[in-house]
Symmetry: C2
Subunit: 430 residues, 2 copies
């Protein structure tokens, strides 16, 4: 018998109807002869409503208590889901993160899982039950306090439980049909990917694709848990994320894709801003002190470019990108070191977009970079920064150009599907 | 240092404002030099809303899952309350029933507390924190499943914790000023009782007074925990329920009450119905088989009266009262045994009221019963059934007569206050 871990996001269980639909889908998996563990997020907007309440009683809610509060969300959805399944004539039991053995560190609001001891879940499914588990939450090893895992926490719960239970697959049900070669809201002819490697998926997630978070894919790769991302609405096969293409993803379309699997997809990200430090003296240690200042402010920077120094002045410009939300903190940190470093000025620009092309195939194909730049140039898109990895090329452009840029690259690399696929697309909750 | 256990009902924490008001009250108790443990119910209508949701996904929600669902309610209120207290500059930690060591049996939806192991609460208050505890919930000893305590559960949680922590007092905060000599909605001149014995309070609770539930008073009496019932809105002293009148309840009014503490109060109850089995053969075993049938249907009956048999027919009538909600079940059970018992017919009447006079003083005062009946007679109220205990007389009347009856008895026994007291009165949640 196979053991399947499924995860359903908040939009899949937004109301009683959604919960009943998800219950049917879970029962189907059980009827197909599987043991089933279903991880569930809080219903629809519950989390936001609880945060609202918290802010009404305290401007800065205490971390421990905010976690206690927010975990009420999954408690509600998981209990309702278990009831709905029992109403279909199948046995189900719901478990909190703590009951499911999700042990974390003590960092409230963004705890990390340090161990999973799923004894009660194992017993429950061995007794023939469907086990429903609260996503996004755990209990701290030291203080036995309730913790939450932060953004993407429910996906991580599912993958971690799948690993601890040695599950055959972790199915992530969401409100889209899978991972696409580009964001279908931007590229009408974006194609659903049947299979993608962990590595390519990690690069896509790091480049702005929002279907799976980096953290969850990383966990799955470490424990080699195949992920199947699919829609809780359509029931169609979605996207497999794994080390090797599984049998079931060998569709006609899949076979076709094997031939030119040069490129997995095009991702874009408009959540970043660009900071340029103008007129930095071009001598050893200047760049280091700039990035030390930014790092000390606990800001994660993404792309970095240093221009060639102008011989006449001995000055250079250093640019980097970072999350818009951290722009203020970064410029404040840089203003502080201005006297010491002696640069001319700071420029802050939040009207940028990052476009990334991801695919393991580019490692062995030297023409990819050229073709990528040609496509952007033909579309009249100007490039401001460039950064590359073995299996990814990223550029920064004007935010206004993002649609044309993604579309042009998508077409140029033969990723357009023959038809415009009908897809639902929205936020995936936590 | 004193240890005070406080309990706040759902109407006291109905919204963010309510939570902030309660937080201030708790902090006051702490500032007065007490260690404070506060038990809290779910906010306002939360429980009803969750039950609504449950009924939308399943007509008969499973007990285990319903408990998991409902306990989300206190999780929300207790976390918010802890945040609000921390916002006032005091340390607070919230604890679920399970974390607080409330151990119950496995009867979901109406579990009984079988042990309280408040180690974490003790540690928390000893470290200087205010401990906030979820009312109404616990964890089962056998299966470690989450349970709820049923109606009045939060009051019981508070009293049980007070007993386990050897607290000096258990303060039950509610939306009324205390226990009154009659329901102030019915008797405008009802007087707040400063002190009442456990025994009298038990009789009042059993007779329809809703401020404290029987179960909670019973627990307090067993462990000798003084209860102070008071308003979370006014902050005035309320009603002490204990073995002996405390110093603090020796007010001028209290001293006056000591003199004629013959009677504690008048309670009424319109939630019962009357079943009459007409024409029962007056021979041994007939009554037994009737009440066996009702008991086997798990119906709790209250008053029982058997008329004198008419010599001419050898037949008698047996009447009893029971909760209206169980009327159908009872009549169905009685219809079943009709052939065996051979009675004539069943009469069902849900337009009745029970009026009860409670007071330890009546034990030694033979005139009370006569005065009670005279008061009712003078008010033109007809009596249908009578039952008595050592410290209580109850009668059944027409439901229409309830106001006149309670008012007449209240006045007759000198319970009317000089002024009409301003009181807020409403449901007390769970």
């Amino acid at each position: 018998m196979s053991l399947v871990v499924q995860k359903y996001g908040g939009s899949s269980v937004a109301d009683a109807e959604g919960i009943k639909r998800v219950a049917k889908r879970i029962v189907e998996a059980k009827k197909n002869g599987n043991q089933v563990v279903a991880v569930v997020s809080a219903m629809g907007d519950t989390t936001d409503e609880l945060i609202d309440l918290a802010e009404q009683v305290s401007p800065i809610p205490a971390g421990r208590e905010l976690d206690m509060l927010l975990t009420a969300g999954e408690r509600i959805s998981m209990a309702l889901l278990a009831m709905a399944i029992k109403n279909l004539g199948h046995e189900a039991q719901s478990f909190t993160g703590s009951q499911a053995g999700v042990i974390t560190d003590s960092v409230h609001n963004k705890a990390r899982i340090i161990d999973v001891t799923p004894g009660r879940i194992r017993t429950s499914v061995d007794e023939g039950n469907i086990a429903i588990v609260a996503g996004f939450q755990g209990v701290s090893q030291d203080s036995k306090d309730i913790t939450t895992l932060g953004r993407g926490g429910s996906d991580t719960t599912a993958v971690a439980l799948a690993a601890a239970l040695d599950a055959d697959v972790c199915e992530i049900y969401t409100d889209v049909d899978g991972v696409f070669t580009a964001d279908p809201r931007v590229v009408k002819k974006a194609r659903k990917i049947d299979w993608i490697s962990f590595e390519d998926m990690l690069e896509l997630a790091a480049s702005g694709s929002k279907v799976l978070l980096h953290r969850c894919v990383e966990y799955a790769r470490r424990y080699n848990i195949p992920i199947h991302v699919r829609s809780s609405f359509s029931g169609l096969p979605g996207t497999w994320v794994s080390n090797e293409r599984p049998q079931s993803a060998q569709s006609a379309q899949g076979a076709e894709q094997v031939e030119h699997a040069l490129i997995s997809g095009v991702a874009h990200d408009v959540s970043e801003a660009k900071v340029t430090v103008v007129g930095v003296p071009d001598k050893p240690g200047e760049a280091a002190s700039i990035f030390r200042a930014v790092a000390d402010a606990e800001i994660n920077i993404d792309m970095v470019v240093q221009n060639v120094s102008a011989a006449s002045t001995g000055l250079t410009d250093i640019s980097f990108t970072l999350p818009k939300a951290e722009g203020k903190k970064a410029t404040a940190a840089l203003e502080k070191i201005k006297p010491a470093v002696g640069y001319d000025s700071l420029r802050y620009d939040d009207q940028i977009a990052k476009i990334s092309l991801v695919g393991a195939g580019m490692k062995t194909n030297p023409g990819v970079t050229a073709q990528f730049f040609e496509a952007l140039s033909d579309a009249g898109v100007n490039i401001e920064l460039i950064s590359t990895s073995e299996i990814r090329i990223s550029v920064v452009t004007r935010a206004d150009d993002v649609k044309e840029a993604v579309q042009a690259v998508h077409t140029s690399f033969g990723l357009d599907s023959d038809s415009e696929e009908a897809v639902v697309y929205g936020g995936t909750g936590r």
